[in-house]
Assembly symmetry: C2
Homo-oligomer: 479 residues x 2
Amino acid sequence: MTVAPRRAADVPTWDEQADVVVVGFGAAGAAAAFEAASSGAETLVLERAGAAGGAAAMSDGFVYLGGGTPEQREAGFPDSVDNMKTFLKAACGPAPDHAKIDLYCERSLEHREWLLARGVRFLGTVLPDANGTSPVDGEGLMFTGGENAYPFDEIAAPAPRGHVVQGDRPGGARLMDALTAAALDAGARASFDTVAEALVTDDDGRVAGVVAARYGEEITVRARTGVVLTAGGFISNPDMVEQYAPAVHVTALRLGTEGDDGRGIRMAEAVGARIKRMDAIECALPFNAPRSLVHGILVNRLGQRFVNEDTYMGRVGQTALVHQGGHAYLIVDEAHYAPNWLNVPATWVCETAAELESEIGLPPGSLTTTLDYFNAHAADGNDPLFHKRAPVLTPLTPPLAAFDLRADKFFYAPFTLGGLHTQPDGAVLDLDGEPIPGLFAAGRTTSGVAAQGYCSGLSLGDSTLFGRLAGLSAAGVKA
Amino acid sequence: MTVAPRRAADVPTWDEQADVVVVGFGAAGAAAAFEAASSGAETLVLERAGAAGGAAAMSDGFVYLGGGTPEQREAGFPDSVDNMKTFLKAACGPAPDHAKIDLYCERSLEHREWLLARGVRFLGTVLPDANGTSPVDGEGLMFTGGENAYPFDEIAAPAPRGHVVQGDRPGGARLMDALTAAALDAGARASFDTVAEALVTDDDGRVAGVVAARYGEEITVRARTGVVLTAGGFISNPDMVEQYAPAVHVTALRLGTEGDDGRGIRMAEAVGARIKRMDAIECALPFNAPRSLVHGILVNRLGQRFVNEDTYMGRVGQTALVHQGGHAYLIVDEAHYAPNWLNVPATWVCETAAELESEIGLPPGSLTTTLDYFNAHAADGNDPLFHKRAPVLTPLTPPLAAFDLRADKFFYAPFTLGGLHTQPDGAVLDLDGEPIPGLFAAGRTTSGVAAQGYCSGLSLGDSTLFGRLAGLSAAGVKA
């Protein structure tokens, strides 16, 4: 079915009506529905799957919070709103969304309270010896954006901000349990197995509702005050990936649900919405667990290093995929070798660097030159190129092993960051830069805090905070 | 004024009428207008400037043609349609537009004849000692896409395809002289100082005309059979650059006219058009003239090489801007030193590599390591990393000089490659992937042959070929 809008005049009867209609019952949708319903608006959530959750429910459950949370204080990491802003503007560039980052940081402590009030629990523990990838039992706070790695550790005071949702894993499922229950308890209704297909517009261009398919039957849904699009990104739509984010085309995996087909974005475009940074992707590259592997060096297809190995693995993956064509190898020595956390063993093992270079197929002399330079400086505690820090900065002593981290071989997990261009209050902008009456959005249907760059927890974080604001805006409440 | 479409029912009278209305009188617009008028359609071109030309008239006048042109044969470079396709699919990736490239190559010989018939003249001369950047007198054919550099010289038989429009320089002005005269001679009318502001649509969604401002006064223009948008890219719109192509934000220069404000793209989006690859940019980096400078090596902010210096300077600029954050330095030795073609002298001159590295501010030991590796292999005629070729592959012997090629210091000249998602016949696709009735586009208002990557001459080439097809389609003629 077309995504072109239906005219309200062509809708003879409404099958469903509500003040606020929320499309998608993931993190952003649940937050939007809770706030809309709590404000007194009659609220209906349309969810294409048979249950709430979305991609959020599959995630590890990091929520990126800071500015001096009790958990940060308990763990001994002072933070401030300004410090958090400084970091995010550096980490989410070039050309970060200053307005969204400012509000995100200024609301972070309040948003944490809101999450606690919904039954979410955090812990003020940092476990330095945890695997550093997925959280383990008892782990409360993690560095999930390279805050304690170069260059960010010199730009802002390092503070962990990845607050892990406590309870059975994955934490994202616990978060969604809490937010789903909260939205329903607040009075929101949900219609499952209901795929939103197009928007309905009044003659004056105001968004007045949604056309959807429920169990395959077309229904029309009136939204008296606003529609909130929280329908996820477009990683599961191969055509849109090809059209907007071709860097992804080499990866074997994609991270999202089948509902992440971009339809929410296209429905809004069809009523004149503008989109932003559609090429932006995040891509976790879980090469760095167990932590001993971070002693190794990452090289590209030329045997050159291209990133500090001790930074956030999402930054590594993004860099490898977008700037190195998805070519990367991890070189590690015997002292620090272990099978990868995913139980992947090394691809090559050799007695010398020269042999390894040849086995991998790197240019002659390239890896040996890189290793000589790296080892000479690492022995003095220096990494002049990337400022990898102690204790993982050590010379590599043969025999050596290498993991094949090329994007078509390894577990790259990209998802899309581009989407509708919204104001922080959730209003969707049109092509002239003006809000479209009656239309709001949040989560990965929008371009959010991470318009480029990324930190784990920013997606759950901005989906829930800006989902709340979009829900209030759609209900006609000034946030 | 808004870009939102005007309803035809709200247009009481038409100030102008034609069968085909072309928006923009640059290369694509002139080609479209010629074909539409020649097919018998009443054709009107709306041009915001006081004369035809657009960005094309400012250009050097390369037209990317091949498949075995008489000029290629005369110069001794065999080429074939398949060879040209193979090259372009490698050079315009990842995920190139196969349909556009196929048609572009298959039509190339015919399109050359069409250009000749319009009075354009080419020459079958290759001048190996010319400066390699802007064409000089008597220069007919140039390698303008890295065809004779690695990896492309191993993927397809190297053939120069940058056909230089002959006559006074710049060649782009001569091309536009010819095409403008041809369009007018064919019967197309032009309305200058006329800025198209929005499209007009019928109740059934068909594009029926244009709202424009002529000398500041609103006029309505009916298009009986089709509108062709050939209004340039968006490099002169800072908001759109920030929204879509933030890599550009560091450059001091932008390449285009003030008319390249993206309005043509947004007008079409406002009637439901889809866009593609809006992050894609081309960026010439004229570091490589005189040719002796290509003996030097380009390094990034880490002192690492990142590209073969003997490839197309547009590939160098694109790589430097998109993948190296606009950080680049050219290191050259005394034997090959000369002030840059733009009369820029070296920024630093030092007796040793270590001093130079320190003066530039590169990491300790980085440039010396890079030079040692490069020199050792260059002495044997090898460049294991990037396969730079003889005769410009020579060891660099101190004293050394360095040019500061950072994007905020040097003459990067970016322009945008993203735009409307069109079929090869010029039909603009909607968000469902279906042609929008009555709407066609070509040139940099569209995503063209170079959906990523670039070769000089592709923009004049695809603007004129696909402009022709769009003009015919708008006139209702099957191309």
